[in-house]
Structure formats: structure tokens, C-alpha cells
């Protein structure tokens, strides 16, 4: 039934829009993520100074910056609901999957903004231009989707706990590790300029990770959300 599906998409986007509106009031998550990324990037380029790091190392550094920047702000989508006491209203007004995808899209937008700002800065400050932009985007886009999907469920878990900030990173790291390994592998190829055959295996893994982790997160979300 198309109208039912349309309704569903509508309510997902309503949750996202609500989050974007409240984000614009405080700009907490966006500021945290962007400042964190900027600070790490500056520290890295200062630290490297005159050293000439290899392209493999730069590929790993790029994702380390993205990972830690994401860790500094992505938990906020759920933590805010708990802190302002609005989570109960949200629980009563819409089903779990709608909330999950609403929050995931919100996190995806945050990461998208982060990537748009950090990629040019990274290129300028660390003096590297991806040899193959197509391959680079194939690492970046599925990588960000996986990052958003897996961290959304972890954020939901963490928002129920007492020490939120540190726990978010601790729990996210083992979950995100396969993603990081695959994505760094593809980025290396993008920086060095390689063939498509080289990225076939990690790309398959990356896409499988995105699909499986997002599905699993949706399935598990109700257990976290409806206490």
C-alpha cells in the first residue's frame, strides 16, 4: 500500500526535521563534531610538520579524524531526548523503526556536513589529492552510512546509561572496527591510485556491513527503546 509507505517515510522525516530544528537552536552536536574534527586535523598537520607521511598513513589518519569527531557528537541525538525528558512523548507518538530511521538520517546529515567541510581541509592541510575520486567517494559514502547506522543503536544504548560520553566511544569501537578496516583499505587505494579490482573485496564487505548492521540495529532497537 503506497499511502502507508508514504506515511511511514513522512513520519521518519518528521522525526529528522524535529531533530534538525532542535539542533539549530543549540547547535550542540554540530559544534562539537566540527570543532573536534578541526582540532584533530590541526594537531595532526602540526604534529606531522615537515615529516612526509606515506599515503597509507594519511588514509588511516583521515578515518581516525572522522571516527573521533563522530564519537564526540553522534550520541547527542538520543541523549538530548533523555535529558529533556521528551523521550516518553516520542515513544508514545511513533513506532520504534520510525524513531530509529529518523535519528539515523539526522546523524547521516551531521556526518555529511562534517565530510563536506573536512575533506577540503584535509586535502589542503595534508597536501594530498585522491588519485581516484570515484574510489574515494565509494569509501566515503558507504563508510558514512555504516558509521551512522551502527552508532545510532549504540547511542540509544548509551543514552540509558549513567556515564555517557566515554561509554559511547568504548562501545562503538569494537562495533565499528570492521568498517574502519575496510574503509581505510579502500581509501588507501583511492589515494595511491589503484584499479577497481583492488577494492572489490573490501567494498563488498563494506556494503554487506552497512546492510547487515543497519538491519540488525533496527531489529534490536525496540529492545532498547521500549523499556
Amino acid at each position: 500500500m503506497p499511502s502507508g509507505a508514504l506515511n511511514w517515510v513522512g513520519s521518519v522525516l518528521a522525526v529528522t526535521a524535529k531533530d534538525i530544528r532542535s539542533e539549530f537552536r543549540t547547535r550542540y552536536a554540530l559544534n562539537a563534531i566540527l570543532m573536534f574534527a578541526l582540532v584533530t586535523l590541526t594537531v595532526i598537520s602540526f604534529g606531522l610538520g615537515l615529516l612526509n607521511p606515506s599515503k597509507e598513513i594519511l588514509a588511516a589518519l583521515f578515518w581516525i579524524i572522522l571516527f573521533f569527531a563522530a564519537m564526540s557528537g553522534l550520541a547527542h541525538a538520543f541523549v538530548r531526548e533523555e535529558e529533556s525528558g521528551t523521550s516518553l512523548v516520542l515513544k508514545l507518538s511513533c513506532p520504534g523503526t520510525v524513531v530509529f530511521f529518523g535519528k539515523m538520517i539526522f546523524n547521516l546529515i551531521l556526518l555529511g556536513v562534517l565530510a563536506i567541510l573536512i575533506v577540503p581541509l584535509f586535502i589542503i592541510l595534508l597536501k594530498i589529492i585522491p588519485a581516484d575520486w570515484g574510489i574515494f567517494l565509494l569509501a566515503l559514502i558507504p563508510g558514512i552510512i555504516g558509521l551512522a547506522g551502527a552508532t545510532t543503536i549504540v547511542a540509544a544504548v548509551v543514552s540509558q546509561a549513567t556515564v555517557k560520553g566515554a561509554l559511547f566511544t568504548v562501545l562503538s569501537f569494537p562495533v565499528l572496527l570492521p568498517l574502519l578496516v575496510a574503509v581505510i583499505e579502500i581509501t588507501e587505494v583511492a589515494f595511491l591510485g589503484g584499479t577497481w579490482a583492488e577494492i572489490k573485496a573490501p567494498l563488498q564487505l563494506l556494503i554487506a556491513y552497512d546492510v547487515v548492521m543497519t538491519t540488525l540495529s533496527v531489529m534490536l532497537f525496540d529492545f532498547v527503546w521500549r523499556q
Binding site: L177, A208, V212, M213
Partner: protein, 228 residues
């Protein structure tokens, strides 16, 4: 466990320890790196690593059961399995490090896939207990840690596919002491007897410790009124 089983476990493990040190080393001295005697640790190290992985699967199973039934008993089982898994993972890491020092000259080597794997296993166990200690309400703690456990297990499955490719060129684990180039098991009869007895003994020891810890936890729970 009945008394007979405990006595049997005691005798088998004692026999394994004696057998491991009085029989010839499992490593062929001609191709051995370092002293062939160092390879005797293989009789204990491999079963410990096996029990640590087994414990991870047990924890996984009871996490799913908890989410299906919401019975606190399953949460206790998952937590106990994780605790024992961490314990055996630490022991396996220590014995492995000693072996690495004796043969390859260093305690730790990041280019060795199995060392990385067991390190990650410990990180996962550590993250699990960090979460448990951060949630006060028992029901909330149970479902949150079950969900996290399942997420970790899925990530671990992905890592099984990712890591070997990364480390294809590097692995220096002494697999040739068990498996030769054609993938055939070349353990002699004595070595196989001691090894599989040790595997059985460690598994039995694990089952005993597991049941005992659950009973300790459950008697603790029964004192509080909301005990299951």
C-alpha cells in the same frame, strides 16, 4: 557436577600436566624456532584460547535467549559466560606472550593475527563490563547488555572476514606444529592423546566454573526480594 566428575577431572588434568612435560616435545627440534621445550605450552595455551572463544558463543546464546524471554536467569548466564571468557582470554594471552618471548623474542607483536584477535576479544569483554557497571537498574542493564553483546558478535563475524586478508603475509603462528603444508594433521599419537585430553579437561573445568559462578550469583540474587 557430581563428585565422580570432579575426581575424573582432577585425574585427567594431572595426567595431562605430567604427560605434557615428561613426553618428547610436540615440536620437531630440527625445525623448531627457539627451544623445542617452549612448545609444550601448546598443550595448555590452545585449550585456553578455545574455552575463551566458547565462552563468547555461550554469552551470545544467552543474550538472545534473554531478549526472547526477559528472564533474569538468562542475563546472569550471559554475564557469567562473559566474565569467565575474559578470565580465560587473559590467561591465554599471558601464556601466548610467554611463548612468543621464548621463541620469537618479543612478548607482543601486532602483525600476528591471533594476537590481534584475542586482544579484540578482551576489548569486547571490557566494553561489555563497562556498560554493565554504568547501568543501575537490573532489567535495563540486562536488555542493554544483551543488545550490545549481539552487536559485538556481529562485528566479530565481520572481523573474521577482514583480518585474515590484512594479515595474510604476516602470520607466524606455529601452525606447522599441528598442521603441515598440505593441511594434514601431523600430530603424533602421544601428542594427540595429551592435546585432546587437555581440551576435554579444560572444557570440563570451564563447565564446572561456569555452573559454580552461576550458583554463587543466584544465591546472591535470592537475598534481594526481586530475585528471579
Amino acid at each position: 557436577m557430581k563428585m565422580v566428575w570432579k575426581i575424573l577431572l582432577f585425574l585427567v588434568m594431572t595426567a595431562v600436566i605430567i604427560g605434557a612435560f615428561v613426553t618428547a616435545s610436540p615440536m620437531n627440534p630440527a625445525i623448531s624456532v627457539g627451544s623445542p621445550d617452549a612448545y609444550r605450552i601448546f598443550y595448555f595455551h590452545v585449550p585456553q584460547a578455545w574455552v575463551a572463544s566458547l565462552s563468547f558463543l555461550v554469552a551470545m546464546f544467552y543474550s538472545i535467549r534473554y531478549l526472547q524471554t526477559r528472564r533474569m536467569a538468562f542475563d546472569i548466564r550471559a554475564a557469567v559466560a562473559n566474565r569467565l571468557g575474559l578470565f580465560f582470554a587473559v590467561i591465554a594471552t599471558v601464556t601466548g606472550s610467554i611463548f612468543a618471548k621464548m621463541t620469537w623474542g618479543e612478548f607482543w607483536n601486532w602483525s600476528e593475527i591471533r594476537e590481534v584477535s584475542i586482544f579484540l576479544l578482551m576489548v569486547i569483554y571490557g566494553a561489555y563490563f563497562a556498560l554493565r557497571s554504568a547501568v543501575a537498574d537490573p532489567d535495563k542493564r540486562a536488555s542493554l547488555s544483551a543488545v550490545t553483546s549481539i552487536l559485538f558478535a556481529m562485528a566479530a563475524i565481520f572481523l573474521i572476514f577482514v583480518l585474515p586478508r590484512m594479515y595474510a603475509e604476516f602470520s607466524q603462528h606455529p601452525s606447522d606444529s599441528v598442521v603441515d603444508e598440505e593441511g594434514q594433521i601431523t600430530m603424533g599419537r602421544t601428542v594427540a592423546l595429551i592435546f585432546f585430553s587437555s581440551l576435554a579437561a579444560f572444557t570440563a573445568l570451564y563447565v564446572w566454573m561456569y555452573r559454580l559462578t552461576i550458583r554463587v550469583d543466584e544465591t546472591g540474587h535470592n537475598r534481594t526480594p526481586e530475585g528471579d
